[in-house]
Point group: C4
Chain length 198, copies 4
């Protein structure tokens, strides 16, 4: 028993982290500096120049919202939290807290291949942590709620690999076709989750 | 049932985000740089130069507090949270987390028309998300608590359009009369909510 | 009833804000820039030069901790939260969220009279919000728990004026004697609260 | 009774602070500036140059996660929270909120002896606060849950000195052998806690 964690405190701790990340993302958008302080057109142009930052911010915002939903749904299926789940969760949080960094890199260098590879890689690592947690729980099925549909959970685990790390790595590679293709894939992933509710 | 969210976790997540935004607003006010470190008058003058930043900070602080109150009151009327409410709430949070940015822009460029239009536009989008959520719930009235006064909720929904997005867009347009007129309207909206308790 | 707030949600919201402020304070201490990256003595000297920032950070940290304790103790005496308490609480939170700014100003300009006057003034406004909330509740004593010792609460309210805004204003004025005198008073106030447990 | 604190509110307050620190750590990693915006190799090189910052971030992330786990486990053994525990907890939080600063210093000056001594010192002070809290509770054993194994708690308290402040000070001293030796010890401490689950 001493190796078990209070589920509600781990959930509250994770929720707190998700809430902070989703809010911090906007801090990477800095107020532009313009010479003529009162020129409406200069400021408008400067703001329009931030468009890539706005886009990468919106994509990351909805991505973190989808992470929260998936986390919420996965945790309702856990009966107990042992050390294994706790540290898989910590790895998931590690990559999730890192998201503001690649988001800012893509926003600053939207025409640079490296930006998109970094973004896709971090998201793939985050998504792989979800899959890792699921595989761990599959191997320790006593941690799951009694009413869990095991074949369904197994199927969901394989799906989470395909629609998670694999798709994000494909998105990273799509940059060699066109940066816009990567943008589109990174944007499509959370939209797909939102519309299908997975 | 699998498409329903835990109301208390969504409330806690939203509350966490509101608490972070309201606290982050002050970070946009940077310590001024003065040459003579020990000159009391130089520092006083530099601080007085930050007055527009202080004003925009106070307006945004009370605006977020009013958003929290409205969110709190609206959510007490919901019986269940489905995907629709969840994602309307996410859109509301998106625009709310964005508030530190237009607040800083207005604080940096208080004499610039574009600043006020941006501020009014973001606030209008935030307020429109509230109205959107209300219209969605009107069309799915099974999500509301049994004791809800439906004609009253309907009236409140139309009011939320008039006193929300419409008023903020008017505030944005008022800048063409005088920047001070926009300031006044943006300040009057939360004050009105606080005094009338809506 | 529609004008009453859920006490636990207002407490959670306030606690979230206190937790964020107490953590953000350290962000105002920036890593110093030194020319010789590997010189241990240069870095040591640069860090020692940050001593005023460390001191003002520690004072503000314990001041916010004391605010949390006082908030915690005051709220246990409230039976209901009406609009009045809610907005007095919002004003208290306004000045509390502002604390990182005067803390950074004192840390950057520790030899400047204006810094200490600003710090004392903000703290006085924060402390005055506590007293304001107490006077409001005295005038609406139906908001207090039945077992409240009214004469004791009244005495505590007058004390909160003397040991709050008055003492902070005295601290601000003490700067005209010597900056160190102000430092000492600002430091002594939370220490006194901690040792006496008020 | 008036000197006792609500355990759940103190836990929630501490959890909030841990969640914020663990998330803020990444803010110290700034997007690098490169001249040729679209050069994939320049950006890659610039990102690789941030490797020391990534490493110090990961070490601090897992260190804070271990602090959370230790805090969680220690608090389940407390029956009541008195002023003593509350202020020992505040001192622990003080040093924990400070972690982003030495983390950033090590990341910026990874070849500098002073960085590692600062890092080890702050971590030693944080760990010493844990030990201080344990010694305080040992001397006020009525604060512990009835079923506490006292000899085991005593042993754990002595262990917490050896594996906490002592080990961190040794890590700080190890820098005089080689900076990498200090890095290794600071990395090994949370890893040891994670693997042994202490």
């Amino acid at each position: 028993m001493s190796n078990l964690f209070s589920k509600s405190r781990v959930e509250a701790f994770s929720d707190g982290i998700f809430a902070i990340i989703i809010t911090l993302l906007v801090l990477e958008i800095k107020v532009p500096h313009i010479e003529e302080h009162d020129s409406a057109t200069s400021l408008l142009e400067a703001l329009l120049g931030l468009l890539p930052k706005f886009l990468s911010w919106i994509i990351s915002f909805f991505t973190v919202a989808v992470i929260w939903v998936n986390h919420h749904k996965l945790f309702t299926q856990f009966k107990h939290l042992d050390n294994g789940i706790f540290w898989w969760n910590a790895v998931l949080l590690l990559w999730t807290t890192f998201i503001p960094f690649p988001t800012a890199v893509v926003g600053d260098y939207p025409g640079n291949t490296t930006s998109f590879i970094l973004y896709g890689l971090v998201m793939a690592l985050m998504a792989a942590s979800f899959s890792g947690m699921r595989f761990y729980v599959l191997a320790h099925s006593n941690l799951l709620e009694e009413n869990t549909d095991m074949p369904d959970f197994k199927k969901g685990t394989y799906y989470s690999v395909a629609f998670g790390p694999v798709l994000y790595l494909l998105g990273a590679l799509a940059v060699f076709v066109h940066p816009f293709a990567a943008f589109l894939i990174f944007f499509a992933i959370p939209v797909y989750f939102i519309l299908t509710n997975k």
